[in-house]
Symmetry: C5
Subunit: 323 residues, 5 copies
């Protein structure tokens, strides 16, 4: 699926066919925005010729499975990002989409792979702000980046929600086994998001500071805003990770505490039955001279004694909180 | 709620209506301080036009829920801080207020959202020091920042107090379950405060060093003082976090130790009853030739033997500290 | 085993004998690529004279057992890398191969020790791209580096696969002892890979940035690509390490949880037998006046009572999830 | 308590009254050293006027309870340090003294609060080295700093000694509860010392490097020496912290190991008594045809069998290390 | 013990008496190498005068017990290192030797304290390479440093060997208590080595980079080599530390797992004896009408039933892996 549009001074000029790209690239003050979805290596090779992209960058876009990054190739920028959506995380950490963006002074080429959603919305919203789009191709780069990062937020929210649910259960009784498994799965999912976010923060430094590429010099504030969003997500991720670690520790403690409670109950009942059986054993002995055995109410007295001893024990254990 | 005042050489000139702001902005050596509380997006858009603020900064102020930050937009500064108060932390980590401050050479605009307390005190205290207010709008920026940071201290104190209370309990017996839950909750609350403080420290670097904005050049020492307060809070936060982690470990150890004690008591009583019952079992056997059964004082002797055996065991367990 | 080839403008000129090396070194626009395998110290000393290599670098190549590194000696570069292959890790952390590469403006000398695979493939692939090989000896350096780093990926995949297998087992019952041992071994193996990768990332900074050696100035993008691969491997390694740590914690929790379950079953059965034996003990007492002993169906009643008591207990423990 | 002395070329000129300070400040090549102990805010305000100190620095000195710091105010330096003494740590982490030092080209003002010891020794030792004191007020600053830092060493020694004592106990039996409490208290105390040392190391960077204040340019090596002491203390602190963490883990393991031993003994004795009682139960049954009951030595044989069975078990448990 | 030799152009000129040092210091192109062993403060003071060393450096050499460091005093360098030898670590962490080296353009003064081995080997090896010794006094500095660092390797090897031995035991049964103690001791010893290495790496930065002292400018590559060795040792140390931490965790898990196994055996045997005793209790009851008691083979049947019940239980526990 391919989608090419030419812009001039922030306004859409025309939907153009692939063949016309090179014509528009030569027109001054124009830029071309090409969007590919699940592009084949052949399509990418064609684009490489059209825009004279660097071999290594194209290879990254073809292969996918890269760390998020921002790389400068001469006057061009190459951007690689992970597309994470809430549903993705449930199914494991492999099924995450990818976006590659190549941006030069007069073109933007975006390639989306394995993503469920599309970026038509980005094009629409960007075209609705001709004042900003006037900044040229780099603004499209920003808009794409912003769109990808914005989609991390619902993922983060889902993770925080899951953490809160686990927290509610963790101090209750029972389900320790389930809680620990949920915590482990949560941590794994958090790390998928982290792998999308943390390298990007690092890479963004390419787009900040005094030695920034000419391309982004005028819109640096927009990229700072994206960086800020990423930093916020990263902060929350770190916070979740630390909390999960603490929660695993807490779970361990709770298990120990429950074990303690069980041991106490076990000990208490063992003592009670022990006393009962010990007394019964006494009167089950076969000595000839055991006067109480001949008493009229001996049996009742014995049962009473046994019940009283056990009752006393029960009451004391109760009071001590063991039962 | 809106509140506009114009100042000249550190002295209040007049309470002014919103419409008059643009007039005062053009008067030399004046600056305007506008304070909004729970501002609607419309009010903020109006202020944006009045002071020509940057889109992205205004968006941050409108949306809220940002990381604390200090950002430079041309000659203006944008400051975003969390307002944390002791009560807030009890109710979870979402109900934290926010303050946005925009400061330019001739204006300060502060926007407070979801905060219970107000900043009238700041205005009063600032106006009481005309010598300092003479530094201009940037001194107001400092005063607001200082006021927000000062309110972190009682929060920190509350956290440290809670930690000390838990410490008193942690080496006592019982309440392990409660302690662990309190430690967990404490850690969560510490992290809310940390999220308010740590990014601010990072962001403050914008206001330090040789490449500082022109606006703050003369009052850098004041911002260094704020940074110092933040660093102190952050140091205490790190200290609490580490202590909480250690305390959770300690709690785990205490649980294990108590478990040990319970197991020993269980084992001791099991042994004592075991001996008693074993002996009773012997004399409950039905062999024909068991001479002791016929003795006059056989029964008494038997009971005495059993009591002696158990007593000896009891005494030995006592001495070994198992009972 | 030695292997010398001379190149000119990216094209192979001739296989040359060792004696001819110095001749070719003097021809302009030529460079010589010498490959040694399991070189003896003597061979290395000979090469040192041929190419006037630095003492310390040659010593490192002779001794082996170094940290991976990139060092500049005048206009030459010395590169030391670990060769890790999936099979290697199984046998412990000592049997890892090593590659030393010396690169000057007109030569590349590669020395492979204790490696199972060879680099003939690298030579073939490099020669197949004369356009790139035109960059000179430094491109060979890149190609060798790339080949070594590419071989880390299957190692990493094997580690990730092993981790996933352990994860499947960790929440099941039983095999806790085996799981913990597998996790420990996995961590050890991860650290071998890490020792190959992490110092290399650090060292690569020599080949990046504005103060880069003249030699690599034109092919910096290629080394950045290698660095990117290393960073990706390192990210995955960190992720595995953290997951292994969490998994060890989880394993500990699971052990505690299973212990809990066992204790509960033990306590339940102890209670059930305790009740049965206590009741049997009652009717085993030898009092003269125990009217129920004389009943026709006393025995049946007794058995019924005992069974009923135990059944009730069993049912309650079942409901409570203890049995 | 106040104490003013004027110096010229490293030699004491006179003890001077407070009123004379301003006279001496104007004499060339003189400097004044004023020492206050537990100064009232009023005294400090007076000194502020005398030496024209910065508001914020004086406020810090008045309030106390700051992080250790070194701050530059124009040509003056402000130094704030914690005074920690071995005894202090026992009583909690609040009772730590404080020293503020203000140093300008021609004066030094030191303020000691809540400290038990005084600095008369510092003055004496400093005056005894006129060659060094010739460096001027900054040498006094160094001498005070050095004196404070030197007092950290016995504190550190006390902590290390305590750690070693705990280590001796930790692998012994019993006292797990006490050990864990001592470790926790030790860690708390270590963190008090750390709070005194770590921020100071950071702050000392102000006094190092090429952009150092003019005041300290000639005596930089002395401050480097202080920094070196601080770094050594900090290294030891980190080492203690890590060791305490490991020791807490070890304590946990030891508890588990002891629990294991207890469980094994419990199980062994339960088995031995179980066998005994089970056999006695057999011969306590009331079957009519139990031939062994009629044997002359049946009883003895039974007792022998029971003893043999139990003895065998005992011997086996002994050999297995369970008893 | 003192040992003075004068060198000229890399060749030994003469063994000289202490009194002749100052003569040789004035000869151009000569340098003097003085080696002291367990020097008294007086000897050091004498040397200080001879070579005009800085007070603070000499004090460090006299006192000892410093962090390893490299300090620049004017054109001189002061080096302080720990001497660690395998045997040392066994006896605790205090008995570590120390080497101080002072190096100026025309002298090297080395002071060895509390070291068992001497540096005669260093002198011999250095004199054997006049080409290198031609670099002057700084090459001696390098040679001493290299010799000290080379002695860390056998220490490191001993630690790694010990770790591997513990690893072999850790997954076996039993010796948990011993393992944990060995791990703890190992960690302590690792930290002694770390204290010798880590600060030295930091300090070595003084001898690297563009702002290096004039003295070392020509031999920077040699110091880079030493730094590389240190980095390698440090990497291995970090690796050991992490592995020890993991091993302590593993030990804890193994303890829990063994506890689990013990609990299961305990529960199994308790159940088996419980069933036996419960059945024996039934036939020990004194009801009049218990028909099975009168059967000819009642007793045998009862014993058979009991044995069958217990056997069935035994078999099931066996199959479940509890026994």
């Amino acid at each position: 699926m391919i989608n090419c549009v030419a812009y001039r001074e922030g306004v859409k000029v025309a939907d153009i066919p692939v063949e016309a790209i090179s014509d528009y690239l030569q027109k001054p003050e124009h830029f071309v925005w090409v969007a590919l979805k699940d592009a084949s290596p052949e399509e990418l090779r064609q684009m490489q010729e059209e825009f004279t992209l660097h071999d290594l960058a194209v290879e990254d876009a073809v292969h996918g499975d890269q760390r998020p990054k921002v790389e400068r190739y001469g006057s061009c920028l190459f951007l690689f990002m992970h597309l994470v959506e809430p549903g993705d995380l449930a199914g494991g950490d492999r099924c995450v989409g990818e976006v590659s963006v190549f941006a030069g002074p007069n073109f933007v080429l975006s390639v989306r792979n394995r993503s469920k959603s599309d970026f038509l919305g980005v094009r629409k919203r960007t075209e609705a702000e001709p004042d900003l789009l006037r900044h040229g191709s780099v603004f499209v780069l920003y808009a794409l980046m912003d769109a990808v990062v914005d989609r991390y937020f619902p993922v983060l929210d889902a993770l925080e929600e899951e953490l809160e649910k686990i927290e509610d259960d963790i101090f209750g009784k029972g389900s320790a086994r389930e809680n620990i498994e949920r915590l482990y799965r949560l941590k794994r999912r958090v790390m998928v998001l982290r792998r999308a976010v943390a390298p990007l923060i690092e890479a963004m430094s390419e787009l900040q500071g005094p030695r920034v590429p000419a391309l982004v010099a005028n819109v640096q504030e927009y990229f700072r805003d994206v960086l800020d969003h990423l930093a916020r997500i990263n902060g929350s991720i770190d916070s979740i990770r630390e909390t999960v670690n603490t929660a695993i520790q807490v779970n361990l403690s709770m298990t120990g505490i429950e074990e303690n409670a069980v041991s106490k109950r076990l000990a208490s009942w063992a003592a009670i039955f022990g006393v009962w059986t010990a007394l019964a054993g006494v009167w089950g002995m076969n000595f000839e001279h055991m006067p109480e055995l001949k008493l009229q109410y001996g049996y009742a007295l014995a049962l009473g004694t046994m019940a009283a001893a056990c009752g006393t024990l029960y009451w004391r254990f109760r009071r001590a909180g063991w039962l």
